[in-house]
């Protein structure tokens, strides 16, 4: 276990890297997501949070990404399909988690194995969609401000129309919620 000391004298113990190395290719990524979403928020002290976050990054760089790349570049077609499909599943729920592997996933879009290529396309689509959702959320705030400015006559019709068009285009690209 990796041990982190808390300022109150207590300890946090997190599974060591040696054990994580033995996991299936997609599991370390899931664990990092769990650490970031569920473990980090529990500890208020910034030094503990930073130490745990650094450890999550170490796992990501030293285990999660190399493991995925190794399997996806490997010759075992069944393992490649399984891993790419597992990644696709993760990308549906937590697209940010697989973003780190997007460089390798992009290369798989033209893969000879149709199942791998299809999963890769879907992963990229999910990452892209998530990115656009973030942009959309940010633009929505801007649009609310713009609506107010338009009502006050602080923005021209042409300027408003231009930004409104971009906003609606983004909304269209995201599509309905699944």
């Amino acid at each position: 276990m990796r041990i982190f000391k808390k300022p109150d004298g207590g300890f946090v113990q997190i599974l060591g890297k040696e054990r994580i190395k033995k996991w299936n290719a997609e599991l370390p990524l899931l664990f990092i997501g769990y650490m970031r979403d569920n473990i980090l928020p529990k500890y208020e002290d910034p030094s503990v949070r930073k130490a745990i976050e650094d450890y999550a990054n170490e796992i990501m760089e030293e285990i999660a990404v190399p493991k995925l790349v190794e399997v996806l570049k490997g010759a075992d077609q069944a393992a490649r399909v399984k891993t790419s499909q597992s990644l696709e599943e993760i990308s549906k729920k937590k697209p940010d988690m697989v973003k780190v592997a997007s460089e390798y996933v992009t290369q798989l879009v033209s893969d000879n194995n149709k199942d791998v290529a299809k999963a890769a396309q879907n992963i990229l689509k999910n990452i892209d969609r998530a990115e656009k959702k973030k942009q959309y959320a940010s633009k929505r705030k801007t649009m609310q401000e713009l609506d107010r400015k338009l009502a006050k006559g602080e923005v021209t019709d042409a300027e408003y129309m231009k930004l409104r068009k971009e906003y609606l285009k983004l909304e269209d690209e995201i599509g309905p919620e699944e």
Binding site: M1, V12, L15, L27, N38, I39
Partner: protein, 425 residues
């Protein structure tokens, strides 16, 4: 500490004389001071035990004494290969002598050795020959061969079977579950593996609640957020991995009723711990899981059992294993576990009223005497003294007897006091 009368005081103050009210105020003030001290000093002893364990580094692998059988907790492929070696040997015997047999470590009490150094009950090296051409052992060996075949199937498919399912897979042959259960244990001993390594599991009844995060295959389980029921300890522990914990100790509780009290108070939030119960006698999965936690997280571990010989026996099983499963002891026992309570001496110390104490019956007295005869009790002076006190008084009490002082007495007073004073065996 608070008495029974004090709990009722708020409702009856008007009728009480001024002197009595003043005394109660004093008691309450004393109690507040005590609680303040507890907050400052609570668990300092437990925390230093944890610090010591963590600094000591990884637990050393157990060195078994000469004359005992080495049992391993192995993965699927190793179990498979051991099984094939046994079968190959039987086939060789058929081809060479035509009279095959297997040599199974004896599991009878005569072959159980108390390892004083490690404080464990272990299996000795005596073996029994089970031959196909002997009327006395042909039934046994046929059943054993059938179980070995089932184990092979389970390992090949990578699935688990329960003891009950094994019995129902060939009712005509096994006749009753006691027979198939015994043969399952023989098969594990034959392969020199834990039973879990054979993918045969028993249904588990243990529950775990508190500051622990686990992985069950690809599912992550947070033992803090599973409601009041907690996580039902899986018998398929080979699928379980400890991911994260900020617990500082483990509390093993005999009674589910006491766990309900602790759960309702979300006790682990205030006192960083993992709570485990097997709801009575400890089953294999719970013992194995407890051992795993204490070994990997190196947490100090305590038991809270009834103040009776059976409670002490349950503690002893967690500590050094049972005679029946002595061959698996190194994988089931938690030798560093401490008996926190309820000790016989606690009954006076914590003023458990006479009406809540029960008379020990003949069975209790017999069990207490048997326990006092055990080497591991003789070697543990405080434990021996507590059992002797229990036997001298012929009194016992359940954990729930403490609730005479109030429903929250266990969580707010008894346990914090025991931990802060280091009053355990």
């Amino acid at each position: 500490m608070i008495g029974i009368g004090e709990k009722m005081s708020t409702k009856t103050t008007a009728k009480r004389p001024a002197k009595k009210i003043a005394k109660m105020a004093d008691d309450n003030a004393r109690k507040d001071i005590l609680r303040g001290l507890l907050k400052k000093t609570r668990f300092d002893k437990v925390r230093s035990m944890l610090e010591f364990n963590l600094q000591a580094g990884h637990a050393q692998d157990l060195q078994l004494p000469d004359g005992t059988v080495q049992i391993d907790d192995v993965d699927n492929s190793e179990a498979h290969s051991r099984l094939h070696m046994i079968i190959d040997s039987v086939i060789d015997q058929i081809l060479t002598s035509g009279r095959p047999s297997v040599e199974v470590p004896k599991r009878s009490s005569s072959n159980i050795i108390y390892d004083e150094k490690n404080d464990l009950l272990l299996l000795g090296q005596e073996t029994a020959i089970k031959a196909f051409h002997s009327l006395s052992s042909v039934t046994d060996i046929t059943r054993l061969a059938r179980v070995v075949q089932i184990i092979h199937d389970l390992l090949t498919e990578g699935i688990h079977g329960t003891k009950r399912e094994i019995f129902y897979s060939d009712v005509d042959l096994f006749e009753e579950q006691g027979n198939s259960d015994a043969v399952i244990e023989d098969a594990s001993a034959l392969l020199h593996t834990t039973r879990n390594s054979t993918n045969i599991v028993a249904s588990a009844k243990g529950v775990c609640i508190g500051r622990l995060r686990l992985r069950d295959k690809s599912d992550i389980i947070d033992c803090e957020s599973l409601g009041s029921g907690g996580w039902g300890i899986s018998p398929m522990l080979d699928n379980i991995e400890i991911l994260e914990s900020d617990a500082e100790f483990v509390l093993v509780v005999e009674k589910d009723a006491a766990v309900i009290r602790l759960t309702e108070d979300r006790w682990w939030k205030k006192y960083p711990c993992i709570i485990i119960t097997a709801k009575g006698a400890a089953d294999i999965a719970t013992r194995m899981f407890l051992r795993r936690i204490t070994k990997e997280l190196r947490l100090p571990t305590f038991t809270l059992v009834d103040s009776d010989p059976y409670g002490h026996y349950i503690h002893s099983v967690y500590m050094r294993g049972s005679k029946r499963l002595s061959y698996e002891t190194p994988f089931l026992a938690t030798p560093n576990i401490h008996l926190l309570g309820v000790l016989a001496r606690d009954l006076d110390e914590y003023k458990v009223p006479q009406k809540c104490r029960l008379k020990m019956d003949v069975q209790d007295i017999k069990r207490a005497k048997e326990m006092l005869d055990e080497e591991f009790i003789k070697n543990n002076k405080p434990w021996k003294e507590d059992l002797e006190l229990m036997l001298a008084r012929k009194e016992k009490a359940e954990i729930q007897a403490l609730s005479q002082h109030g429903f929250k007495y266990l969580t707010d007073d008894y346990l914090p006091m025991k931990f802060s004073t280091g009053d355990w065996i």
